[in-house]
Amino acid sequence: MTIVKGDIMTEDKKVDIVGRGNVEGANLFRVWFAELSDAAKNNQSAAYVFVMGSMAEILKVFDFPLVFPEITSLQTAVRRVADEYLTVAEDYGYSPDICGYVKADIGIHLREREHPMGKIPKPALTVLTNACNTYVKWAEIWERMYGIPMFVLDVPATRQAGGQFQPGSSDFARDCEYVEAQIRELITLCENITGKKFDIDRLRETLAYANDMNIGWKRVLELNKSKPSLFNALTDGTVYLGVSNNFRGTKEGSQFFKNLVEEMEYKAAHGIGTQTEEKYRLAFVGVPCYPIFRRFNEMFTEWGGAFVHSTYLHFASGGANMGFEYDMNRPIESLAEGALISIRDAMDSMFHQNTLVAVSAKLREAAALTAQPSPCSRCLAASRKPSIAPTPSYSQTTITIR
């Protein structure tokens, strides 16, 4: 398989526009992992980050390779080897009742960061948000294991149903000031770790790429209101999501989403859908069932079901679905606003699942399907932390269609 970097459209013109997003997404995923393996081989340290607020815009300014442990963990499940890692973590002392992502990752670290897809570099620091509280407990494990700095970007989300603070209000300004102060502290921390001086023009560059991605992601999600649906939110959507996380704030990520919008607009204009017969339009709530990723999808597509939307594409994009555009004239202030609005949305989309599902489904004329993998204990309104153990963990999976 040729790994394509840079301007994908011009370097590989043979890629047909229909299905191009999946091909390019898969290529980029391999690029990401190959770069991590290279970094590990060269003893280069990485920034460990999470999908709900990676702060890639800042970290890319300092040239940190980004490790997304959620993604490396779920890959062990997709590749059907999660149980090996989970067992290592449980033997070490972790309870069967805690998050499977965390345990798979601990298993990876206890195996010297050897992963089925390559080698993961050591952390230089970890940057996380409070979008998932387990992030904090997870990062504390690396903090102990490697003695690295742990930076929690605290993003206050909605306090009460229906009471989200809006831009222009004093409450919003107060939250924004808090986030901005922390971003400035993060910059200082990165300077201290790397010995590099912060370059605000490079931040403008990463913000511009992130803007392209935010605009593109929002547009792609909107386009799937088309009939027939243009992409499968469960399978194709997860590929796009991978790029949106791993390549946030980069030229490759920007170009990928420009290409993806072009592909989806082309498909919409030509009535090209994902399957020959779209009998049932489905909205998926929760996290893809990674241990049976393909088969789970087929269980529905075989009967004419098409996943036109997934809440996963909202919250696991760190709120990129909001389409927030950074203001290059005030990059740090604008990054704070964007982080607050986007990460808050990723948190609130779980907080207000009941309305989110109804609205999303209605917009897309879809029935809502809720999948709650059994060990997902942390989220009351919707599950987002399934165990990534193989089939036994799904023995209690509840799927309701309403």
């Binding site: 070490y92 002392g93 972790y94 309870s95 009742d97 805690i98 998050c99 965390v102 409070n130 998932c132 509280n133 387990t134 904090v136 407990k137 990062a139 504390e140 494990i141 903090e143 102990r144 700095p149 742990m150 930076f151 929690v152 970007l153 605290d154 206050p156 989300a157 909605t158 306090r159 009460q160 149903a161 009471g163 409450d171 107060r174 000031e177 808090y178 102060a181 922390q182 502290e185 779980m350 907080f351 207000h352 009941n354 709650q372 059994s374 060990p375 997902c376 204990s377 942390r378 989220c379 009351l380 309104a381 599950s383 209690q396």
Partner: protein, 388 residues
């Protein structure tokens, strides 16, 4: 003094007071809260671990610690998935079953489940159900100011409910009442550390716990009476090991589990209901009371698995607690399905292994009723230390 919600203890023996405290703590009908409401008092229910109760107190509300109960869930089960800790379910059960009626509910981002409790609660009740976003970045220079403003926001909501403007004077008075309360609790724990044979952890737990169910002025009077009785207690020292109990920061172990441990060991320090003892020093009465309260939360406080602070690695804090209390062993517990507690259990046991400190590991749930097996295991554990 504020309305008396508890039976009179004046002139009663310590054993009588302890027995009455157990009645109140185990009372699934929350009679103290009902008495308060009958007197037209408003109630603010706040979920574990810490809430600045002074703000509700200054507005004339009863700050009620929602810390679950040993009850069967018949209403709340359908609102939650199965993989959740018990305290969430029983806390909601208390309000759905109308055993407790509130005028406001506040939860905190201590874990995903607790944070989302505001949403679940809010779908069932018309009164404000919200999150107090206690800072998760305890090490940011901006955290104290942010928290001060967050307290002001909550204060405004409380004022809207009660119709009472919280004056600076009222807030400072409340700070003073709570400073005294924490000081008395520190005295209680100091006795436990110094002369653990005078008061068991089962007893200190009951005396502490009742404070979350009555007004603090009344609790202060109760503690003063109890402390003088404890100090005069004619009890001899027994041959028991000194241990620290860790794991009671949120969901509370069943009373009989705590009693079982008390029978086998001298628990010289613990983290039971740590929120009531979170602030370790008096909050200053000079200057802005909300700022002082926020600063105390971050700068003069204890530790728990649900607050990350680079200055307070949990396992080092535990080792410090063990050293400060002169304990020779630790009991490391966690509530079932408690992600933060279960994760830190590993860090604790690794640190204890490294230091060669013996420990006993266990899990608990509010609804546990049988402790025989644990009693036998604990006896073996203590005998190993005493005679090993």
């Amino acid at each position: 003094m504020a309305l008396q919600l508890f039976k009179k203890w004046q002139g009663q023996s310590l054993d009588w007071i302890i027995a009455e405290c157990r009645e109140v703590v185990e009372d699934a009908d929350f009679s103290t809260v009902k008495r308060w409401r009958e007197a037209r008092g408003k109630v603010l229910g706040h979920f574990q671990v810490y809430f600045p109760e002074e703000i509700a107190h200054a507005a004339g509300m009863l700050p009620l610690k929602m810390r679950g109960a040993a009850i069967e869930c018949t209403h709340s089960d359908s609102h939650f998935g199965s993989y959740l800790c018990s305290i969430l379910k029983t806390s909601l059960e208390l309000v759905l079953s109308k055993k407790v009626e509130l005028d406001m509910f506040v939860t905190h981002p201590i874990c995903d489940a607790a944070r989302n409790l505001a949403a679940v609660w809010g779908r069932n009740f018309d009164y404000p159900c919200q999150i107090l976003y206690l800072p998760q970045n305890a090490n940011s220079a901006a955290s104290v100011t942010y928290l001060r403003d967050e307290y002001a926001r909550v204060q405004a909501d409380i004022e809207a409910i009660t119709g009472n403007k919280v004056t600076e004077e009222a807030l400072k008075n409340s700070l003073s009442v709570f400073n005294e309360n924490r000081s008395l609790l520190r005295q209680l724990y100091e006795i436990k550390r110094r002369q653990p044979w005078l008061i068991s952890t089962y007893e200190t737990y009951l005396l502490t716990n009742v404070g979350g169910l009555i007004m603090r002025e009344e609790h202060n009077e109760l503690l003063k009476a109890a402390i003088s009785l404890i100090e005069a207690r004619p009890v001899k020292r027994q041959d028991k090991i000194r241990v620290v109990f860790e794991g009671g920061f949120c969901e509370q172990p069943p009373l009989d589990l705590i009693r079982t441990i008390s029978q086998s060991c001298y628990v010289v320090d613990d983290d039971l209901l740590i929120g009531l003892r979170w602030i370790l020093e008096d909050v200053s009465l000079e200057g802005d009371p909300l700022f002082n309260l926020a600063e105390a939360y971050l700068e003069k406080s204890s530790y728990s698995p649900v607050q990350h602070d680079a200055r307070k690695p949990k396992e080092k804090m535990l080792l410090q607690r063990i050293a400060d209390s002169g304990a020779e062993a630790a009991i490391i517990t966690a509530a079932k399905m408690c992600e933060p507690g279960l994760e830190d259990q590993v860090a604790y046991t690794k640190a204890l292994d490294e230091k060669g400190i013996p420990y006993f590991v266990s899990e608990f749930e509010e609804s546990m009723t049988s402790f025989d097996q644990m009693e036998i295991q604990l006896e073996t554990f203590t005998e190993n230390i005493l005679f090993g």
